[in-house]
Symmetry: C2
Subunit: 189 residues, 2 copies
DNA sequence: ATATTAATTTGATGATAATCAAATTAATTA
DNA sequence: TAATTAATTTGATTATCATCAAATTAATAT
C-alpha cells in the first residue's frame, strides 16, 4: 500500500524555509555525521544555545530532525527519511503542477476582458496583440450555440453585438479555428 | 563522463532560498504546466509585474527557470534539470556531511578545555559530566608518548601534572580505554 | 533541600527580503 | 517619428526572521 501523498504547498514551503538558512544547513551537515546535543552544535557553529535551539525547532517542525531526551540533554538526530521523501516528490512533475492548483489560472483572461469590454459587453477596440485578441475571440466562441448553423446574415448580426467591424471578427474567428464556414453557413468548432 | 559535482553550501543555499517563498513555489507550479509571460503570472498570482519580475530573477539565479525573449515579452520556462539534479544530490548522505566541512568541529572541546584548565594547564576540577571528562581525558591522552611503557610511579607523576587526584585520573583513563595496564606497567592505546 | 546545568522561551534589535509605485528600458505598432 | 506596451530597475515601506541576552523550565548532582 504505497501512500503517494499529494503535496500540500504549506508542507513544501516549511521544508524549503527550514533549509534556507546557512546555519541550519550546517546543522544538517553536522547531524549527518552523528547525533549532537544543542551545546555541541552551538560551540561548533559559534552561536548562542538559544539560537541553535530556535533553528532546531524549525528543522523539527519540518520533520528534518528529531530529539531524544537524555538526562538534561536533548540529543538531536537527522531524519533522513523526510529528506529523501521530499526530494523524491520533487522529481514528479505532476506534483509541481499541483502547487499552482489554488492560483487563479483565468485571472489574465478576466483582466483582458475587463480592459477591453465596455459595461454593456462590447469591445472598446479590437486588440492588436495576438494574445489579447485570442482572449476576446474565446469570449465570443463560448457564446456561440453548439450544433447550430448560422447563415452569414445571422453570424454578422451576432458578431455586431461585439464590434462594428464584424467582418474582421468573422475572419479572425475562422483563422483561429474557433469557427468554420462552408457554403455560406457558419458553425462553432 | 559523469560530473558528480561536489556541493558547495552557497549553491544549495541559493537553491533553497529561491524556493522558500509561497509565490515563487506557485510560479514553479504554473510554469510546470507550460511557459508563461510575466504579466500572465502576475495576473494569476494577483501580484504586480515588478514583483513577479523580481521573483523570476531570483529563480533564474538559482537556475530554476529560463527566459526567452519574444517580441517585448519574456517567456519564462521551468528548468526541470536543475530541480532533478538538486534533489538527487540531496539523497547522498556524504554530500550532506560535507555541508559542515567549514564548521569548527573541535570548538566544543576547546570550550571545555578553556573552562576547566588553569593558565598553567592544570585541571581546576575533575568534571562530573561524562562528556566533559572525556574531553579532558583525551587531552591527557594525546600528551602520552606513543610506544612507551610507564611504570606506576612514572604514570602517577605524569598525571599529577594535571590534578592531584592522579588515582582517579588513572582509573578513568583505563575505564575509557585510553590507556592499558599490565604487570604494573601502563601504556597509551 | 539547594546548586548546577542544559534547554527552551521570551523580548528586543538589526538584517534581510517581499511588495508596490514610479521611473526607465527595450521592443513594437501606428 | 511618436505612441504603446511589457519588462526591468530603483526607491521606499513593511513584514519576516536570525540573533542575542535574560528569564524560565526541567533534570541532575551536592
Amino acid at each position: 500500500m504505497e501512500t503517494e501523498m499529494n503535496l500540500p504547498i504549506e508542507e513544501l514551503l516549511a521544508f524549503f524555509k527550514a533549509l534556507s538558512d546557512a546555519n541550519r544547513l550546517k546543522i544538517i551537515g553536522l547531524l549527518a555525521t552523528g547525533p549532537h546535543t544543542v551545546e555541541q552544535l552551538a560551540a561548533s557553529l559559534n552561536l548562542g544555545a538559544s539560537t541553535v535551539s530556535h533553528h532546531l525547532s524549525r528543522l523539527s517542525e519540518a520533520g528534518l530532525v528529531s530529539a531524544r531526551a537524555e538526562g538534561y540533554y536533548s540529543v538531536y538526530s537527522l531524519q533522513t527519511d523526510q529528506l529523501e521523501q521530499m526530494s523524491r516528490r520533487l522529481l514528479k512533475r505532476e506534483n509541481l503542477a499541483r502547487l499552482a492548483q489554488n492560483t487563479d489560472l483565468e485571472a489574465y483572461d478576466r483582466k483582458v476582458l475587463h480592459d477591453f469590454l465596455t459595461p454593456d459587453g462590447r469591445f472598446k477596440t479590437i486588440p492588436a496583440q495576438e494574445k489579447k485578441l485570442l482572449v476576446l475571440l474565446r469570449h465570443i466562441h463560448q457564446a456561440l450555440e453548439d450544433n447550430r448553423q448560422y447563415t452569414e446574415k445571422e453570424i454578422n448580426e451576432f458578431l455586431k453585438r461585439y464590434h462594428d467591424d464584424f467582418a474582421s471578427l468573422r475572419r479572425y474567428m475562422i483563422d483561429h479555428k474557433l469557427m468554420a464556414r462552408e457554403n455560406g453557413l457558419y458553425w462553432k468548432i
